[in-house]
Amino acid sequence: MNSQLVMFISQIFNGLKIGSVYSLVALGYTMVYGIIRLINFAHGDFIMVGAYVLMLTAPAIIAMGMPAWVAVIPAILICVAVGVIVEKAAYKPVRERGNSMTALITAIAMSLLLENGAQAVFGADYKTIPTVFSIPSVNFGALHISGDTILTIVLGLVIMVGLQLYVSYTKRGKAMRAVSEDKEASILMGVNINSTITLTFAIGSGLAAVASLMYVAAYPQVSPTMGAMLGLKAFVAAVLGGIGSIPGAMIGGLTIGLIESLTKAYIGTITAGIITSAFSDAIVFGILIVVLLVKPSGIMGKNEGEKV
C-alpha cells in the first residue's frame, strides 16, 4: 500500500470516529426537536457535564480495579438527571406559558448557566482526564488504526441502530413518534405526553454522556466550554441530515466528521496553501449555510414550514 492511500484511509477512519461523536450528539438535538420543536442549545453542554463526571469518577473507578471507561455509567446517570431537570425546571414551564421564542432563549440561558456554573466550580482552564480505553491498535500493513477509533465507530453504530429499532418497534418508541407528529391525537390514544417528553430528554442526555466518553477518549481534556463548539457542529450535522430525523442525524454526523477530517488533511494541498486546515470549522458552518439555502429540510428531512 502506498503512503498516500494509507494516509487517506486513516483520515477516513478519523472522520468516522469524530463523526460518530457528532452523530450521537446530533441524535439528542434531533429527538428533542422532533418532539417539542425546540433547538436545545444546552445539549452540547450536557457533553461537558458528562466529561467532568468522567474526570471526577474515573480515578476512583480505576482505584477500585475496574477499567476507566466504567465511569461512563455515573456520567450517563448524571447527564440524564441534568437533562430531565433542565426540561422539567426550565423548558416545561416556559413551553406552557410562552411561545417557541421564549423557549429558545431559555435554552440559550441554560447553556450559559451550565458553562458558567462549570467554570465557577472547576475553573476555566483545561484539565486532563485519564486514558479511558487502553486497547491495542489494529494494523493492516502500514495502516495503523487505534483501538479507540474502532471502538468509537462500532459503539456509535450499535447505539444508532439500537435507537432506530427502539423508536420503530417498541411501544414507547412508537409513542415518541406519535407525540412528535400529533400531540392531540396522542393524548386521545392515552399517551402521557409529559412522560414521553421526559423520556426523550433522558435518552438524548444519556447519548450525550456516551458521546463525552468517546470524545475524551480521542481528546483527553475537559473544559467548561468544550461542549459549545462540539454541540454547534452536531447541530449542523442534525440540520444537514434533516432535523427531526433519527437516520438523518446519523448520516449528518458521519458526513460532517468526514468532511472535517478530510478538509483538515487536504484543503491546504488542494488550494495550494491559500485555504489552510485552520478553516475546517468555517467549512463546516459554511455547509450549514448552503444546506439552509439549498435544502432547508436536510437530507432525510420532511418538508415542514417550521422554523427555529
Binding site: 412508537k174 409513542a175 413518534r177 407528529e181 393524548i187 386521545l188 390514544m189
Partner: protein
C-alpha cells in the same frame, strides 16, 4: 352513560359553550348538529379533556371526566375520533391502529383488535404497511375509525366523520356507524351533514352559538320545519 350538565367553556373572552346539558344513554346514537362555530367540536374536546371546562359537570359511567386526566379517559372506554381525522401520517396504517391500542394494559389483544379493524375496513388490510399520509381522505377516515376501535371502547365520540368525503364514501362511513351501533357501541356524533346524522340517530340536539336550542327524537327533528329550513336546506 354520558351526562353533561350546565357546561360552560370559554376561549379567553369568547364564550364557546354557554351552559349546555345533554346526555347519551348506553346503546344510543345521539347526533349533535349545528352550524360552523356553534360549539360542537368544543363540546367533544371538553368531554375528552383537550379543552378545560369553566364550570358544569361531565360524568361518564359514574366517573367525573372533568377531574380525569385527558390521557386517561380512553381507559374508561371512551374513544374520540377527532375532526380532520388526525391520523399519524408518518406511521404505517398498522402502526396507527397499534397506537389505538396504546392504552390497553394487555397488549396481547392487539392482534385480535387488528383483525377486527380489518374486518370492518378490508381496504386497510391491503394498505397495512403503507404510510397513513399517503392514503386518500376516505381511507384516512377509516384509519381514524379503526384506530378508535382498537381500545375496545363502549362509547365513541365522532367529529365530522363525513367531512371532505365523496357522497359514496359518506354512505360507507355512515353504514359503518350503524354497524357499530348494532354491536351495542354508544355513539355521540357531531355532523354538519345534518340529514345523514338525523337519519341514523335515535335522538339529537341542535347547538346554536353555544346553546342547545332544540332537542328530541331524531326523526321528529328531521321533519321539523325550523330544522329543515336551517340545516337541511329545504
Amino acid at each position: 352513560m354520558l351526562d353533561i350538565k350546565d357546561l360552560k367553556v370559554s376561549y379567553g373572552a369568547v364564550e364557546a359553550l354557554k351552559g349546555i346539558s345533554l346526555h347519551v344513554d348506553d346503546g344510543e346514537i345521539v347526533s349533535l348538529i349545528g352550524a360552523n362555530g356553534a360549539g360542537k367540536t368544543t363540546t367533544l374536546h371538553t368531554i375528552t379533556g383537550l379543552v378545560p371546562a369553566q364550570s358544569g359537570s361531565i360524568t361518564f359511567n359514574g366517573h367525573d371526566l372533568l377531574a380525569t386526566k385527558s390521557g386517561k379517559i380512553v381507559t374508561l372506554g371512551m374513544a374520540h375520533i377527532p375532526e380532520g381525522r388526525h391520523v399519524f401520517t408518518r406511521m404505517t396504517v398498522q402502526e396507527n391502529l397499534e397506537m389505538g391500542a396504546f392504552s390497553l394494559k394487555d397488549q396481547s389483544g392487539v392482534g385480535k383488535g387488528l383483525e377486527r379493524a380489518f374486518e370492518y375496513f378490508p381496504r386497510l388490510k391491503e394498505r397495512r404497511n403503507q404510510l397513513a399520509g399517503t392514503l386518500s381522505g376516505g381511507e384516512q377516515q377509516m384509519v381514524a375509525m379503526g384506530r378508535a376501535l382498537m381500545s375496545n371502547p363502549t362509547t365513541i365520540l365522532m367529529d365530522e366523520p363525513s367531512m371532505g368525503l365523496s357522497p359514496l364514501l359518506v354512505k360507507d362511513i355512515f353504514s359503518i356507524i350503524t354497524m357499530l351501533h348494532a354491536k351495542g357501541i354508544t355513539i355521540l356524533l357531531v355532523e354538519q351533514n345534518a340529514k345523514m346524522a338525523l337519519s341514523i340517530a335515535d335522538r339529537a340536539y341542535v347547538l346554536e352559538t353555544g346553546r342547545i336550542t332544540m332537542e328530541g327524537d331524531a326523526n321528529d327533528l328531521l321533519h321539523d320545519e325550523k330544522v329543515r329550513r336551517a340545516y337541511l336546506g329545504a
